[in-house]
Amino acid sequence: MPHHNQILVTLIKTRKVSYAFSILTLVLASFFAFTIPYIGKISIDRIIDQNAEPQADYVQSVIDFLGGKSYLSENLWISGGLILLTTGLYGLFMYLKDYFSASACESLLRELRNRLFHQIQHLPNTFYSGVDTGDLLQRCTSDIDTLREFLTHQVMNLGRIVILVIVVVPLMLIQDVKMTLISLMLVPLVVIYALHFFGKIKIIFRKVDEAEGELTTIVQENLTGIRVVRAFARQDFENMKFENKNKKYRDLNYQLIQLLSRFWSISDLMCFSQVGLVLIAGSWMVGQEMITMGTFFAFLIYTSMLIWPLRELGKELNETGKAVVAIGRIHEILEQEPELQPQKALKLPQRIKGEIEFRNVSFGYDPEDMILRNLSFKIRAGETVAILGPTGSGKSTLIQLLLRLYDYQQGSILLDNQELKKMNRSEIRSQIGTLLQEPYLFNRTLGENIKFGKKDASDQAMVESAKMASIHQTILAFEHGYKTVIGERGVSLSGGQRQRVTLSRTFLKEPPILILDDTLSAVDTKTEQKILEAMREKHGHSTTLMITHRISCCLQSDRILVLKDGTLDQEGTHESLLRVPGFYQELWNIQMGQKEDFQLDLQKSFPRSLPKE
């Protein structure tokens, strides 16, 4: 575990000066906190008390400096003013302490946030495929919040209590040892009880958190799936599901409060007893003339000054456990290797030709379970190739390898006859326009989304690409046109619309290589044909790879590759593949079966037109 904190230590070290200042100011503040009751004590003993004898000590010199006892007793406002002044100084140094610590902590957190964001942008895909994105998001947000809470509250409170004790207790001892011991008699008991208690209720705290999480999940699923709920008239069932979780959360929460009420009342009993002890014992000692009235007064205040914050110690110390877990979780992200870049990257031309070759490529996300086996094929620059195959045959995987989202394990991939691994990842990606199976749009305006890959594109070009993707008219139909915000806080688009927006985003890049990973599945056939035609016209010179399961798409391609179990099963043009038994022929037959039906339908519909044939 300790190495987890390394990052924290490194970050703290860079703000050494601020932290040193905040400790210094805290020491000063504690000193003044001590002084306030002390002034009260001196006033009572040396000024207000008629029988007080002048003593030969430093206090007397201060009194003499201010005009002597009788002058001060006639002008008691000076004592009052001094209390005000000391309190002011105490407040000032408390403020300064916060000033130094806040700027240090917040800068540290800013640094950590930035590092996390930078990291999640550069982590390899292998990392993302194995993690739960919700959990990852929590690490970047809630865990940072926990850390912030820890740095700005727990550490500060702990520091305040500890330094207060360190500064005040010796000063108390100087005044009267016996009184000090009496004032602190029950303190260890309170601290131990608090530590023990908050250690023990951690479990129930966690249970409450979990119950809350379950409750949230139920509500969230209900709201997201509201159509399903209504479709099956399951409102009562949902109410019951919610009722269970709601009750569970309520009961656990109340259970926690019951425990807390026990803690607060028992610790109240201890703390008030401590104050009572000082009151009775102290006043008895005053009566026995063992201590002065002023000392008694001061100790009465010191006791409450120490005991109440010390009671909180248990809570604060137990909270640090959470922060340790949080920093560990954050560290787990930061310690991941980001995507590796080659030492000396090959310089790619402004625009590559777009020739792609796979040579005996093998790859598996899990080395035990290879997805691609010895895959070899070649695609000429400017060629349009359709890739077919059953689910799990490795179609999408080969795209991921080409984009270097994953690193191939064996064989080689060549781009314009150069080894892919020797190139800079971002340079490869900027040459390839890719449309992923699941279109991803950002929570911005439509225009910004289209220009996402090419920020400096003109509006003219943006509109052109939207027209190509057959989405221009749809966009104009929105009230704010290209300025329409989409996503959670804006307009929601249908699957087909989303696909077409990402399509226009890719078109705008005008890449030498274009990859469509089953991109038009949610677009109707008519629109699909329109888009494909537009693509031919504009991007005829781009090398195009289309993963599809539609025959209509294959008809638009120069060549067809059929994958099966990670190897090349069939290869050829539409005509050549039709003649060989295999996947392609089967697919064709299914769709032709439908077509034959169609022909039959037509014949039935137009019986009189038959004899002409």
Partner: protein
């Protein structure tokens, strides 16, 4: 954000009144008891200082012979009783807050189950979720603990003041001068801090959203080589967060010293004037020390009062949102007469057996937004057991027709009749429990595959579930998984592909054995091979059911009893497959493009 201003706190009394009547009145006894205990605690705390004074005066007058034992007993007695009272009052406040939270959530959730889709169209899931989770929590916490604080702090302050007035009214009145100052300073700062905290939270949720996009869109960002720009944009927000957080902390840091300095004016004055009284023999030393202690004690209850007042402002906004939600009347619900009738005759269950003979759209108009009609004077009669296919371009109104049949929305004009009676005169629950719907964007609940299919019919046996799964050819796929039907579905069904989710929700709908079956692009993401298999079994599924099918794949549509070609909310063509082909119209064109 004017709704959060101080001035509005008591303007909107209606909100508090409604909240009080709905959630506190049922717990009246507990609420009153809480107030009583809070007052007792305050009383005891105020008494502590009197004992201190008495002890000191005893020592000053009797010196060595001071008799202190009785005071020790009194003090200890007070200590025990305050501990017991604190125990009771935390329990009571805790009970009040957890109960209130429970009821707020229960009512909101159950109300949401009744609200119509038009309401869901206007509010995002995230927004609604925040109402049920954080708003309910905040209101309950602030009201319960705020009540406790107020009824402790008020009497505490009053008690202290009364004691002071009795001890020495002149000095008491002088010292009391700091109270308004403290209150004004506190309220001013609390508001300032509230504002800046809100800014911090807003920026924080912006950061969360950016992280979320950074994570979920990481692949897209990589492909578009946008990493650096994204990072630069993030840094701007994170810098903002840095600034706002520091401001927020420093405001809170300035507040505390100001309060104690103000309070220490009281202490200073007490020492100055009180000291003079002591020197002049007008006051005992015990009284002086009591005064000084009380002036220190002032600030705490005052701070609590300021805190409660600011929190209430915050709660006001939450309360307005929650009550706003609870006050939305469901647009679609059983009419009052029908509810009354059902209550009297208890016929709801009997009516479940009602067989649908005919569904009719009669001069039906519909618009999601005013002056943007989607359906215009729509007319059709559908005999039971028939399969109706809806064909047409995106946005033509196909899904709207499905939504109207399910009574997710109601016609804005005209009627929809079931067996000749306007369906608004029938029970909503009856209609919807006779529906089976498969949507393009399928939704799975967390739980197992089995429980997800079972959602269609809660009493279905394992065998029936398996049969339904077999019918849509998803059984083999399920069995191929390690845990078979017991495979856990992750949140949002993220461990299944869209096609698989479509198949599972298809099975769920079949299990429901509905009289009306609606498929809205139900198999769009299923691969061609599986789709083909499903087609074969579909006729069996649709037998004896009135079905509405929306699909792009014409193979699904061919066998329908009636095909409606919809464009701009109107039926352009209507008839059987062959008839429509003969027309050589829109349907023919559409069909042609399927095979080029």
């Amino acid at each position: 954000m004017s709704e959060f201003q101080t001035a509005s706190l008591f303007e909107n009394k209606g909100v508090w009144k409604q909240l009080f009547v709905m959630f506190l009145l049922p717990q009246k006894k507990r609420f009153l008891l809480l107030i009583a205990v809070a007052v007792i605690v305050a009383g005891i705390e105020a008494t502590f200082t009197i004992v201190t004074k008495l002890v000191i005066d005893e020592v000053v007058t009797h010196g060595k012979d001071a008799y202190l034992l009785q005071y020790a007993f009194i003090y200890f007695g007070l200590t025990v009783s305050i501990s017991v009272s604190v125990f009771i009052f935390i329990l009571l406040a805790g009970r009040l807050s957890t109960e209130m939270m429970y009821h707020l959530r229960k009512q909101s959730f159950e109300h949401l189950q009744k609200l119509s889709f038009s309401f869901y169209d206007r509010h995002s899931v995230g927004w609604l979720l925040a109402r049920i989770t954080s708003d309910c929590e905040r209101i309950a916490r602030i009201i319960a603990w705020g009540t406790l604080d107020l009824f402790w702090a008020g009497p505490m302050l009053l008690g202290a003041l009364m004691v002071l007035l009795v001890l020495n009214w002149k000095l008491a009145l002088t010292v009391m001068g700091i109270i308004p100052v403290l209150l004004v300073v506190s309220l001013y700062f609390k508001n300032l801090i509230l504002e800046s905290s809100r800014r911090v939270r807003r920026t924080n949720s912006l950061l969360t959203a950016t992280y979320n996009e950074g994570i979920t869109g990481s692949q897209t960002s990589k492909i578009l080589v946008r990493e650096q720009e994204n990072f630069d944009e993030f840094k701007v927000s994170s810098e903002e967060m840095h600034g706002y957080s520091i401001t927020n902390t420093l405001q809170a840091s300035a507040y505390f010293p100001l309060v104690i300095v103000t309070a220490s004016i009281g202490t200073g004055v007490a020492l100055w004037i009180g000291g003079e009284y002591v020197i002049g023999g007008l006051m005992t030393l015990g009284t002086l020390i009591a005064f000084i202690t009380y002036t220190r004690d002032f600030s705490e209850p005052l701070l609590h009062i300021a805190e409660v007042l600011t929190n209430l402002q915050q709660a006001q906004a939450c309360a307005e949102r929650i009550l706003g939600l609870l006050n939305v009347a469901p647009e679609i619900k059983d009419s009052a007469e029908l509810t009354e009738q059902m209550r009297r005759s208890k016929t709801e269950h009997v009516k479940n057996n009602l067989r649908i003979k005919e569904i009719e759209f009669k001069n039906t108009f519909f618009a999601y937004k005013q002056d943007q009609p989607v359906l215009k004077d729509f007319n059709i009669k559908i005999p039971a057991g028939k399969t109706i296919a809806l064909v047409g371009p995106t946005g033509s109104g196909k899904s709207t027709i499905a939504n109207l049949i399910c009574r997710f929305y109601e016609p804005t004009k005209g009627e929809i009749l079931i067996n000749g009676i306007d369906y608004r005169k029938r029970s909503l629950k009856w209609l919807q429990s006779n529906l089976g719907i498969v949507l393009q964007t399928p939704f799975l609940f967390s739980g197992t595959i089995e429980s997800n299919i079972q959602y269609g019919n809660l009493t279905a046996s394992k065998q029936e579930i398996v049969d339904a799964a077999k019918m849509v050819h998803v059984h083999d796929l399920i069995m191929a998984m390690e845990n078979g039907y017991k495979t856990e579905v992750e949140e949002g069904g993220s461990n299944f592909s869209t096609g698989q989710k479509q198949l599972l929700s298809f099975a769920r709908a079949i299990l429901a054995d509905p009289q009306i079956f609606v498929m809205d692009e139900a198999t769009s993401a299923v691969d061609t091979h599986t789709e083909h298999l499903i087609q074969k079994g579909l006729s069996k599924v649709l037998e004896n059911r009135t079905s509405f099918i929306i699909a792009h794949r014409l193979s699904t549509i061919r066998s329908a009893d009636t095909i409606l070609v919809i464009e701009e909310g109107e039926i352009k063509e209507q008839g059987k497959h062959e008839e429509l082909l003969q027309l050589k119209g829109k349907y023919h064109d559409l069909y042609q493009t399927q095979f080029i």
